[in-house]
Subunit: 345 residues, 2 copies
């Protein structure tokens, strides 16, 4: 056990795209373990777009309060039990819990879930088998109402949510068109994940390429990007199409509303004219689906029908950079931070 608890904290709230200097590693005591609690040591930290929301006071909402300056950045983590005062856990167990970006945390045992290393590598429990995967599962099984043969559009196509959403849509028999940020990533999406097509959003002809790749329009847009990617998809929605608003990474760095013109009236008008349905996707509403999700998706992983790619950054001191990489598209796959000598399954 290290003598200290390293925590990755905020020195100041980022304005626009975060910079490494917005983050700061501080050290604190290893926390005491209360009755019913479990002391855990971090193995893998997740770096997901929603964390940007937590470090922006202007986006504070009830369930996502702003992280105080100097406190560890929140987020799910894969942890190993160091000391248990809860009957459900013993030393050495691997668990998932909201430990945040720090080496050690003491969490109520009831808030932890054991991680089954037999299902998939540890870090996958933050991705395809974690909250991002469940988010994709909820979207595709509960909200998208996608039928075989329909066109499903997935932005951030290799990300934690997107990769699972796209592959679940493919398995359902949909035509799946992805979006990511380089030719190499697009190739991976098509060749490894089975997207029918994947578009590079950094190309100047991106918007035109959406229309060309979706000649009959888009039935379901699983939106993980926001900004120009959202609009390119929105302008190609079919009547009665569904737009799942899951992530809006492109907009998360904006403090104030961007300059005009104001596109909101156009957005509303198109909802009416095309009878679209826009729905917010929030995994927290569907925890009860987790057992079914784990069974189904781990089965797909085992059978080689659902793959994922990870972008692993080593060391808690680099977690801020990992977040910047993810927000700017420099990651290649789901971003995780590996702590110290965490096992690589």
């Amino acid at each position: 056990m290290n003598a200290v608890n390293r925590q990755m904290t905020l020195r100041r709230y980022p304005e626009g795209m975060p910079r490494e200097s917005d983050f700061e590693v501080v050290t604190s005591e290893i926390p005491d373990v209360g009755e019913g609690e479990v002391l855990c040591r971090a193995q893998y930290l997740t770096v997901d777009p929603y964390i940007r929301v937590h470090v922006s006071p202007s986006m504070s909402v009830g369930y996502a309060p702003t992280t105080p300056l100097g406190a560890p950045i929140p987020g799910e983590a894969i942890l190993q039990v160091v000391q248990s005062r809860h009957p459900g856990f013993k030393d050495g167990d691997f668990v998932a819990g909201f430990g945040g970006w720090q080496d050690y945390c003491a969490l109520p045992g009831d808030s932890l879930r054991k991680v089954d290393r037999g299902l998939a590598p540890l870090s996958a429990h933050l991705g395809s088998l974690g909250m991002p995967g469940l988010t994709a599962y909820v979207g595709m099984t509960k909200l998208a109402e996608a039928q075989a043969g329909q066109t499903v559009f997935v932005s951030a196509a290799l990300g934690g949510v997107g990769a699972v959403a796209g592959q679940l849509a493919r398995i359902k028999g949909c035509r799946v068109v992805g979006v990511t940020s380089s030719a190499e990533k697009c190739r991976y999406a098509v060749e490894e994940l089975g997207y029918d097509a994947c578009l590079d959003r950094t190309r100047p002809d991106f918007a035109a390429s959406v229309a060309a790749a979706c000649p009959e329009g888009i039935d379901v847009n699983f939106e993980n990007a926001g900004g120009e990617v959202f609009w390119a998809a929105f302008n190609n929605m079919k009547p009665y199409g569904r737009v799942l608003i899951c992530g809006l990474v492109a907009d998360y760095n904006d403090g104030a509303p961007p300059p005009g013109p104001d596109q909101a009236p156009h957005l509303l008008r198109m909802i009416a004219l095309k009878r679209l349905v826009l729905k917010g996707v929030m995994v927290a509403d569907y925890w009860d689906l987790r057992p079914r999700f784990l069974e189904e998706v781990s089965g797909l992983i085992r059978d080689g029908r659902l793959k994922s790619k990870e972008y692993v950054v080593q060391g808690i001191e680099n977690a801020g950079r990992a977040m910047i990489d993810m927000l700017s598209g420099r990651n290649f796959g789901k971003t995780v931070v590996r702590i110290a000598d965490a096992p690589v399954d």
Copy 2:
């Protein structure tokens, strides 16, 4: 029978709020009646917000093509049969059909529906028992998912759609908050139509009054207005709330998108954070509901549980003004144009 067919046409496409000089009455021949067709004489013309969409080239979509200059403005009308070459209709029958703004039209008999004067006055078949009423019925019974005790917010609370939507919500046991454009209209909404509260959107404290009238937030916003009224409601939506995008009158006069800031990213973010559902409402998708709708709503009218108010403008030559009155809120109730000596039931 008049010797000529007066038609209210467009002289030019309105820019912004239409002006009376944008419209022009022209005369043409009374049309010939083909086999299977019915020659009709107009009794009442409807003046609904969607007609503004038809006279704006920038809002042309498949099912709502732009009206050519010089052609009669489209819209449903109550008609009386003058000459029938269809076995289902005889001279003197009252029917509803898409005759547009003109004295005479020859329409396929199969496109007409007989109007039952026993159910309600003739003109009501353009309002509470017509397309606006069916739109409200579809919204409240198929899309809103409103439960008794929930708060339903209805803009254009006395309009053809709004008055029916608000009263159906009240009958369902919801708490109904309306919006209209004067203290007198608000009083009417509460005292005659049974709204629990009604807010005057012309007051400077309007946005604050929405929050005060909906202390627990809004479960369903039946949006008939757009613009500031939309935002005042949207900012008070409860998590999981439904926003039915039916009419956006405030925005219909805008050709280009209004100046910034761009509120679309905020709109999308709130959909995600509050897990809202936005849905377009389009009556044309639900013609099959009409028999059930007519039976239910005419029963409610007969029992005095559902009322309506009409704003009747006399003469086809004043139809343009009627539309301007409606778009600017000078109407008091559902706007219709009475032609010549049409019966007042």
